[in-house]
Each structure stands twice: as structure tokens, then as C-alpha cells.
């Protein structure tokens, strides 16, 4: 073995390469981690993953639906409840799609949703056909869906812990205010209010309420399912 400079360089030169890459990776990663920790500490934030949806335990939340039109039905599907008519239509659509060889997963997606541990216990709609559709589709032997004549009846019945409001826009604020004053949790979508004065009134109602007020905007989310542990942090 000849220990010339050339031999030593070519034989051992790979070691510093290894060391450099190792050092760069380790130093870069730890520096980034330290920077992140410093920012979090400064902001006093505990990073945590969003709570997983499948683990919701305890008594199911009793939900009332106000307005069971197109959006009402869609929101109920997000909660895990579909009408018999919709399921039949989707099955037909899926069969057709299969025949034509194109993908169609609406029904599958619906069935694969995470369970939210809630019950639909009441519905309120001025249109008989729609209210009856909800009663017919969502009632189970142990949990019949009750139809209420007005939203006030439903909110004040004491049998509903949370309401999903899917009515025409000008009803959003009055119904939300009524529910919050009775400590009933609210999910309502944009527009939250119809007039400026309503906005302030709604803010007061939300501040003084023990219930959670949630406004859906673009994307409905799953927070409704966690209401029992949610507390005032989720409010307005």
C-alpha cells in the first residue's frame, strides 16, 4: 500500500463529505426547531394537533334543524344524516356512473364520514313537505324526530341542545339571538346578520350566553360535535 498524498485524499476524502452533510442536516434542523420553539414560547402557544373526530364520547348532542331546504339537507348530510330520497338518488347515480365507467363517490364519501356522536331530535320548517321529509328520514324507533311549529317552540322546548340554522338570510340573526339567549348552541352560515343593529345585538347575546356560537363560512367544519368540551373559547 502506497501512502501517497493522492491515495490518502482519494481513500479518506469521503469521510469529510459524510461529516459535512451530517452536520448540515443536524444543525439546520435543530436550528429551525429552536427558532420555532422560541416563537411559540414568545406567543405562549402550546402546539397541538386538532382533536381527532372519531373519539367523541359521552351523551350524543341533541340537534334541532331550523329550515330543511337544500342547504338544510346538505348540512344534515355533513352531520351524518341523509334522507331516504337522497340515498336512493345517489344509488341510482352510482349505478349509472358504474355503467358509464366514470368515478362517482358521493354516497361512499357520505358513508365514510366520521361519526359525530349527535342526534337530530327536532325539525322546524314552515313548508310541510320538507319538515315531514326530515321527520320520516331521520326518525328511529328510539329517537323520533319531533316537528316544531316555530323556531321559538323548538329553542324553548329544552329538548334541543344545539340548532343548525339553514333558513333564508333575514332569519339568521333573530334565530341565533333567540337560541343564544336560551343557551342553545348555534351553527349558522353567512350572512350572519341582515342589519348592522342586529350584529351588535347578536354580539351581546353571544357574549352573555353559555352556548357556543359558530358561523360557517365557505367550509362547514366539525366543531359542533365537540360542543360538550368546547367551552366559551368557541364562542363568537
Amino acid at each position: 500500500m502506497s501512502w501517497t498524498r493522492r491515495e490518502a485524499l482519494l481513500g479518506l476524502g469521503s469521510i469529510p463529505v459524510l461529516g459535512a452533510v451530517w452536520w448540515a442536516g443536524a444543525a439546520g434542523t435543530t436550528a429551525k426547531k429552536r427558532e420555532r420553539e422560541a416563537i411559540l414560547e414568545q406567543l405562549n402557544i402550546q402546539p397541538s394537533l386538532p382533536s381527532a373526530v372519531p373519539g367523541i364520547s359521552g351523551q350524543p348532542v341533541r340537534v334541532g334543524i331550523i329550515g330543511f331546504g337544500i342547504r338544510g339537507e346538505q348540512l344534515c348530510r355533513s352531520l351524518g344524516f341523509a334522507t331516504d330520497e337522497w340515498i336512493a338518488a345517489m344509488e341510482e347515480e352510482a349505478a349509472l356512473a358504474k355503467l358509464e365507467g366514470r368515478p362517482f363517490t358521493a354516497l361512499e364519501d357520505f358513508r365514510n364520514q366520521d361519526p359525530l356522536n349527535l342526534r337530530i331530535v327536532g325539525v322546524c320548517d314552515v313548508f310541510d313537505i320538507r319538515a315531514e321529509k326530515a321527520v320520516r328520514s331521520f326518525s328511529t324507533p328510539e329517537q323520533p324526530v319531533k316537528r316544531y311549529t316555530t323556531y321559538k317552540d323548538m329553542i324553548q322546548s329544552g329538548e334541543v341542545e344545539a340548532v343548525v340554522i339553514a333558513t333564508p338570510d333575514h332569519w339568521h340573526a333573530p334565530m341565533s339571538i333567540e337560541a343564544l339567549r336560551n343557551n342553545v348552541h348555534v351553527y349558522v352560515e353567512k350572512p350572519m346578520t341582515h342589519t348592522l343593529s342586529e350584529t351588535y345585538e347578536l354580539r351581546e347575546a353571544a357574549r352573555n350566553s353559555k352556548a357556543v356560537f359558530q358561523v360557517g363560512h365557505q367550509h362547514p367544519d366539525h366543531r359542533l360535535g365537540t360542543i360538550p368540551g368546547c367551552g366559551p373559547a368557541g364562542a363568537f
Binding site: 479518506l12 476524502g13 448540515a24 442536516g25 443536524a26 439546520g28
Partner: protein, 164 residues
Amino acid sequence: MSSTSNRWGLRQSITLLRVLIGWHFLYEGIVKVYNPDWTSFGYLATAQGPLKPMFQALSSEAVLPWVDTLNWAALVFVGITLILGVFERAGALVGAGLLLLYYLAHPSWPGMAQINTEGSYWIVNKNLIEAVACLVLFYHPTGAVFGLPRIFSKNKTTSKTEMS
């Protein structure tokens, strides 16, 4: 000896390729080793293509820690072997296998969603090219050109200057 000098450029190029691929693997591995929050979950959960069920099964809570550990261990192994030139053939093979798995998890085939890719690809992407490069390394070990085996190798490649 004249045949050796003809192949000078080729051997040195493959050696350079080996060190660079090793560099890439080692850095990817080290970054994951030093970041305890790193997980392959997102990559596996968004898998596409025919092997989607397999990759999604790997992302389940029970196996994920093993998959993560195996992944960084394999990356570091490939990195060390290719840079130092020791067990380089095993390293090249493991590297090609890993890259093929990455390729199959997110194949750049027409009609598949391209998630987290920075370029435009049609069937061929960087993972596939690097996998084939690993194949070249497997068939052309170069540890005796540059790397620890050179110290122990009796069959040294001659330098450009021929000595008679």
C-alpha cells in the same frame, strides 16, 4: 492500462454521481432523524395509484412509527454507504428500492393528482431517474476510485498520468 485511461471520465463521473446521490439520501435522512415531529403520514395517506391501499395501510397508527423509523434508517444507510463507498452495492439497491416505493406512492402518471411536486412530469419524474441512477451505481461500484475501499484495494485505478 491504456484501457483504464480510456474510461477515466466514465469512472470519475459515476463516482461523482455516487457521492451526490449519497449526499442527497444522507441529508434527507439526517433531517428526519433530528426532527422528532417528522412523520411520513401525509405522504402515505395521500398516496395515489394502484398501490394506494397498501400505502394507506402503512399510515395506520400501529405501523406508522415502524415505517417512519425504517424510512430514516434506510435513508441514512444509503447515504453513508454511497458517500463512503462501503457496501455501496447494497446501498444502491436499497436506494433504488426506496425510490421506487416513493415513485409508486405518488406515480406521475396521467390522470393522477400530483401532490407536493414542484415540477411538471409525465410518467417520468425525478424519483424514477434517481432510482435508475442507483441501478447504475449497483452495476458500477466505484469505492475503489474514491472512498474507504481504496485504502484496502490492491487493484487501484491508475491516475491520468500513466506510469510505466
